[in-house]
Amino acid sequence: MLRPTKRPVTERRTVRPTGRTARSLAFVHAPLVLLCLLWLTPTAAVFVSSFRTAADSFATGWWEGVRPPLRFTEQNYVEVLSHGGLGRAFMNSLLVTLPSVSVTVSIGTVAGFALARMRFRGSGVTLAVLLGLTVVPLQVILVPLLRIYNDLAVTGTRPGLWLVHAGVGIPFVTYLLHNFFRELPRELFEAAEIDGADHLRSFVHVALPTAAPAVASAVIFQFLWVWNDLLLALIFVGGNRETAPLTVMVSGLVNNITGQGWHLLTAAAFVSIVCPLAVFFALQRYFVKGLLAGSVK
């Protein structure tokens, strides 16, 4: 129901106003510009502030920073990356995120394929259960997992967190890929079967190559989810500075900040969103697809 139609784009002209009338400026362009400014300003403020000196940040607001003469410095970034331990935290975020994404998306893709293309009793129930699990509040799994992790002494280790993220992410990825594989035409697989391909071969040679966009959506979604996660990281590796990712480090900085630390905190925040922003702007199309898929679960 939420799927965009495949009608040609040209039909949209019927809805778009033809000229830039005073009315469209007042009721369409002006409010939209206002909303965009409201959404953009906070991030822009932090961006500008992260390049100002400590003294400037303390004395005046960020808007003075964009008034000539400009005197920006990269010192804040140097400081948070080396002394602040954010360099290590950045590495930790990568080391938590990449394996989690790989494990989750691999397993979810196989599960999605099996649920979409194999007919068997219980497939409907399995899918329904997975779908239900995508909305379970994460808090509900924390107590038993933390207890067992403490008993096994794996709290604070990365592999422990990879698996938690896999458990949390697999239902959604499975659902996303299931929806994709289900839409593939049957003829595609019948042709492969006539050529003597078994399930494994039709999965690897027929399904996977066509699934690249869906897999990309799943990868991006999972990447952003793990990279941005605070709760699970806080609980399962947060106590350990050696393994703490960016979200945990930056939230720690926030709580320690006094009025004078804005130049560092803003730089730290920007370090933590460089990856998500790059992913977002480079692969926006797939991210939006993932959002759409997530909203119809």
Partner: protein, 319 residues
């Protein structure tokens, strides 16, 4: 350090390889079976890895939490944890705040997101406008919290205000506001940050839904003489209604689960606690597993009706 890096790279590359090897092994093992036997066994063997992980990390903990919630310190069974939920003032306050989140986040994001989707649809710079509002959905709540603490920054009256909002307030001649401390503004401020992050999702979904409205319908409305506002109210809005319901349920679930924004910005101080933060405190700081499990169960119970609505409308939408 380098061993850790090596392990991470090995797992990243190895996971798909191991999984494919498993499938290959499964197909080898199935070979001696009859056709029917293969058909029956194959799906479950393919699904064994996902079901094992999900069972171990979601289903078992879910059941275990429910069990734990009935245990009090000392190991006896009892309803003490639920008595705490019913009688404790802090739980009531948190529930009220969750209620504020539920109404504020859902309504605010829905209105702003729909507005952006509709307005953006009418202009040529649609893609840019949507990118601007969707961007916050891609960053972490921690970063958003820093971004907004900078906006809400407060300094005593008389000193130059470096926070954007207080600079505006003082420029207008009023006293600066301690947005995150003042109990009249702080919950609204936190929910505002939540809205800032959620509007992207609403915009994306509503936008797709708007583009799915048949152009003939709009044209028909025009021919009948409807102006832009009546066109929206009587033609566009009814078409968007199912989408609005589904998006509302997602926002409601987000509101009930709210944790990060509160944790980073106020840590639940000044009467801003929500259930998830109480639960975190009981789990991590007080190590009271029973109470935190009961709080988690309460969260699930609150989410369930919302999920039910979501599934109902989702089914309808597909049929």
């Amino acid at each position: 350090m380098s061993r850790q890096v090596l392990l991470s790279v090995a797992v990243t590359v190895g996971a798909p390889v191991v999984l494919l090897s498993w499938l290959w092994l499964v197909e080898r093992l199935l070979r001696p079976l009859s056709y029917r036997g293969r058909r029956r066994a194959r799906p479950w063997l393919w699904l064994a890895p996902p079901l094992a992980v999900v069972g171990l990390y979601l289903v078992w903990p879910l059941l275990s939490t429910i069990w734990t919630s009935f245990q009090v310190r000392g190991g006896q069974h009892g309803l003490d944890n639920y008595r705490y939920l019913v009688h404790s003032g802090e739980v009531h306050d948190a529930l009220v705040n969750n209620g504020l989140w539920l109404v504020g986040l859902t309504a605010g994001s829905l209105v702003a997101g729909t507005a952006v989707a509709v307005l953006a649809h009418l202009v040529r710079w649609e893609t840019a406008a949507k990118a601007v509002v969707v961007m916050p959905a891609a960053i972490s709540t921690v970063a958003a919290a820093v971004i907004w603490r900078f906006m809400f920054d407060y300094r005593p009256p008389g000193v130059a205000q470096t926070g954007t909002l207080n600079a505006i307030v003082t420029a207008a001649g009023a006293e600066p506001v301690a947005w995150l401390v003042d109990e009249r503004t702080n919950n609204a401020a936190l929910i505002g940050v939540g809205i800032w992050m959620s509007v992207g999702l609403v915009t994306v979904v509503m936008s797709a839904s708007i583009k799915a409205i048949p152009a003939e319908l709009i044209d028909a409305g025009r021919v009948d003489g409807a102006g832009p506002f009546r066109l929206f109210r009587y033609v566009v809005l009814p078409q968007l209604l199912p989408t609005i319901v589904v998006v509302s349920t997602l926002l409601a679930i987000t509101a009930l689960k709210a944790f990060d924004v509160v944790y980073v910005m106020t840590n639940g101080n000044y009467d801003t606690n929500v259930l998830a933060n109480l639960m975190y405190r009981e789990l991590f700081l007080n190590a009271d597993y029973g109470r935190s499990a009961a709080l988690a169960v309460l969260l699930v119970i609150l989410v369930l009706p919302v999920v039910a609505v979501n599934l109902r409308f989702f089914r309808k939408g597909r049929a």
